[in-house]
Subunit: 143 residues, 2 copies
DNA sequence: AAATTTTAAGATAATTTTATCTTAAATTTG
DNA sequence: CAAATTTAAGATAAAATTATCTTAAAATTT
């Protein structure tokens, strides 16, 4: 569905949204340790979000990453797109290379709808996800 | 979402359902050539369906594969399960290892519903897919 | 200024998935 | 029976993804 890289990244931005409070930057090490993710892999992936303009980063002690865009404006779709690309939401579920909409296979109508729904599901802001986690009174992010 | 192996296999069984007519066995070579798939990869994957009891196979000239179960009884879900396992339809979209249903994250309710819908989408028999392709008057399977 | 911390960038390695090849076994054909 | 055809099984290789490591650059701390 979506890659591990994208899943890790989504969890990371949710973590940042939840725990940045008034800090300027949150270190990737802290995120990786708390979420039990590989620091190396996460670093590489979050860098993509930096390059996509979603996060900003800062080097040195006190360094780390933080939102560049307002988390209210960052949708999970944006994370997935930056990491995996948008292909999933445009792809054929059966892997046909060429296929006409005008003469679709038996599951196309269903798939076209699901694809849209999956897109909609991820079309939710990081802030909203974080707020809902908070409102559920979850004390620590589950790992 | 589902692996290439599963997609290839689904297309192959649909092909068999469409073109077996009264033949005892359809050679994997024929399927691979028509669908423009790797004979090697397809052979290996269809063998899994044989072992799962969905197809049966026969060696030698006139050999090949064909349905062991009635294609009316074979759902796309069965193909996917035999090839990829059922994990997708039980998995967490964010990749959390532990997560309680009683205190779910913001997208869990949506994901749980989508997961179910995706399952339902694939819970369609090979026969039904083949029949709908036929009724749509598609002359050749699109590749 | 030197040592330390942290991201940046790119090399390297491990794992998983996909693809290919080889040999063997079963079956048919001639 | 010999040759040809086709799946079976497992080895090997290529590609993609995931994971790790190394060195450099930027910033802070001492
Ligand atoms: S019609 Fe079927 S095979 Fe073609 S793109 Fe849609 S889902 Fe895929
Ligand atoms: S609650 Fe969210 S994180 Fe947990 S299993 Fe459901 S979708 Fe995954």
């Amino acid at each position: 569905m979506i890659t591990e890289a994208a899943k890790d990244s989504i969890r990371a931005v949710i973590y940042i949204a939840l725990y940045r409070e008034d800090r300027e930057f949150i270190s990737i090490k802290e995120i990786a340790q708390t979420l039990n993710l590989s620091f190396y892999f996460l670093s590489k992936n979050l860098l993509k979000l930096v390059k996509a303009g979603i996060l900003e980063s800062f080097r040195g002690p006190k360094g780390g990453v933080n939102f560049k865009k307002d988390p209210k404006e960052v949708k999970l779709i944006d994370i997935i797109s930056a990491i995996d690309g948008t292909y999933i939401f445009e792809s054929c579920i059966l892997g046909f290379k060429e296929c006409s909409e005008t003469n679709p296979c038996a599951i196309h109508n269903k798939w076209a709808e699901e694809r849209k729904r999956l897109y909609d599901m991820f079309n939710i802001s990081v802030k909203k996800v974080a707020d809902e986690i908070k409102s559920g009174e979850i004390k620590n992010i589950k790992i």
